[in-house]
Amino acid sequence: MSAPLLAVDDIHAAYQSGVDILQGMSLAVPVGGFVLVIGPNGAGKSTLLKTVFGLLSPHRGGISFDGRAIAGLAPHEIKRLGVSYVPQELNTFPHLTVEENLRVGGWTIRNDAARLRARIARVYEIFPVLAERRRDKAGGLSGGQGRMLSVAREMITEPRLMLVDEPTVGLAPNLAEQVYELLQTARQSIPTTILLVDQNVSDALRHAEDVVMMNLGRVKAAGPVVEFGEARVRELIQECLLG
């Protein structure tokens, strides 16, 4: 078996010292995989992504990306290695135009004008709506288009790993499905690997290949989706909630 792209090994992390949100969390994401992390509220799912991206530093344990230790690096350094992070809240810049938003996403390749130009052109090809609205302020986009822009913006750097935090929260069900398709598009066209955190279990399960169930800051169960029916997942969630 080949080495995983991302390996999280027994990490402990806290927002406040003494109160660990992650308590010995481990997981491995294979190259080209689509791993879904689920779990009840407060399980530490979002914290896991923030820690991998360097917004939070683990005080124990290791994180390696493509064989390189990344725990303790700053977000912009991790980003440069090819990791993208799409946070839960809508994260476009409302006062910048669609195109400026895309360009802002290209920080790591800002000195390579030709490459930046090609990537932006490619994103417009994949998402023609964004090309039409390139000169409009991002604040005027609809919720679905906003999501599209934030995923498209990450595609500018052609990341090897995308960390996606609850991309469908607050969206209508039909839009939610579009968002998953968006992620699949990104995955196949870049191509990239996805680590997705989601509460929208039934929809997300249809797209993921592997699933990791978290509770109280560590893994409760993990395995390929084919071995994890939705019924089994629901059972596990209930166990977590009822203790």
């Binding site: 977000p75 946070p87 810049f93 195109e99 802002v104 996403g105 920080w107 800002r110 130009r117 052109a121």
Partner: protein
């Protein structure tokens, strides 16, 4: 359709507007007397300070209270080099710019990781430190006695200084506009919009902020260095907090975070303040009140009155 970087159409329009406006001001000496020219020259100095502070506070969201100190660093560097070592202005002024930029980088590294209110306090403390140093080390800086600086043109006739500051203002404004419309401009605005989001995109926000901080400090140093050779007597009064307050007042009245704001805010405020000088500190109190009221209702100040005019002016070109 090319997606490569090009200045937006608004850049060319701004440059045209700046140059045309400056051309109109070039005729001012035909009608204005020497005192009026003197006041206008000082107004240009404040346009540069206000516009460069607005780059930092209005466009990047970094509310520094040390901008007047950077102007003083520029002025004193050139002044002291001339006073003690006989260094001519053409070396003194660039040295002042470099010194201000250098202090900008150092202070920036120390304070730009801080959040808004702490940044304001830390930069204010820095300005006070410079103020105290200039006052206390009077054997070197001449303190409150004042440091005499050689005039740039051998005389104190305001005409050549008027044109110098007019040209300087034009160059600085075009430079600032280019910066705002360039890639660093949208990284700046992204940081102002939401720094955490910018970070999550992998933008090295501290680096962008330090770059903007040192550029705006260098511009303040440039204005200060020329200013010293114009008023020919420097005193630590230059770093009095009221000077910083004046810059903030100019920007807020003109329009915070707008390009036009500091340009149209600086001159009227400077002129009104000059003529109200006999009321002393009350002068500042009245303006502070105006600022509080303005900030409560609109941050776009006088500039918002010009926005529709600006659109109409170019509407035909867009059609």
């Amino acid at each position: 359709m090319s997606a490569s970087f090009a200045f937006p159409p608004s850049f060319r329009r701004s440059v045209i507007t700046i140059v045309v406006t400056a051309a109109v001001f070039a005729f001012a000496p035909l009608v204005a007397g020497s005192f009026a020219l003197h006041v206008l020259t000082i107004s240009f100095y404040f346009v540069i300070l206000a516009a460069s502070w607005n780059l930092l506070a209005g466009y990047t969201g970094q509310f520094s209270l040390a901008h007047h100190a950077f102007a003083a660093i520029g002025a004193y560097t050139s002044g002291l080099l001339g006073y003690h070592y006989g260094v001519p202005a053409w070396i003194g002024i660039p040295s002042g710019v470099v010194m201000a930029a250098l202090f900008g980088v150092i202070l920036g590294r120390l304070v730009l990781r801080m959040r808004a209110i702490y940044l304001a306090i830390a930069t204010w403390a820095f300005a006070e430190t410079v103020h105290i140093y200039l006052t206390a080390d009077y054997q070197f800086t001449r303190g409150e006695l004042g440091l005499s600086v050689k005039p740039l043109y051998g005389s104190v006739d305001p005409l050549p200084y008027y044109f110098t500051f007019l040209a300087l203002t034009v160059l600085v404004l075009i430079g600032l506009r280019a910066l705002i419309d360039s890639p660093i401009g949208y990284f700046m605005r992204a940081i102002k919009d939401d720094e955490l989001r910018a970070k999550s995109l992998g933008i090295d926000t501290t680096r962008v902020k330090i770059a903007v901080f040192s550029i705006s400090s260098a511009i303040a140093g440039l204005a200060g260095a020329f200013y010293g050779h114009f008023i020919v007597l420097l005193s630590p009064q230059m770093i009095d907090f009221s000077e910083m307050a004046k810059i903030v007042i100019m920007v807020v009245i003109g329009g915070f975070g707008t390009f036009l704001g500091p340009v149209i805010g600086a001159a009227p405020v400077q002129m009104v303040m000059t003529y109200l000088q006999k009321y002393g500190e009350w002068n500042l109190a009245i303006f502070a009140l105006i600022v509080i009221v303005l900030m409560r209702f609109s941050m776009e100040g006088l500039a918002s009155l010009f926005t529709p005019l600006w659109r109409n002016l170019w509407a035909r070109h867009d059609a």
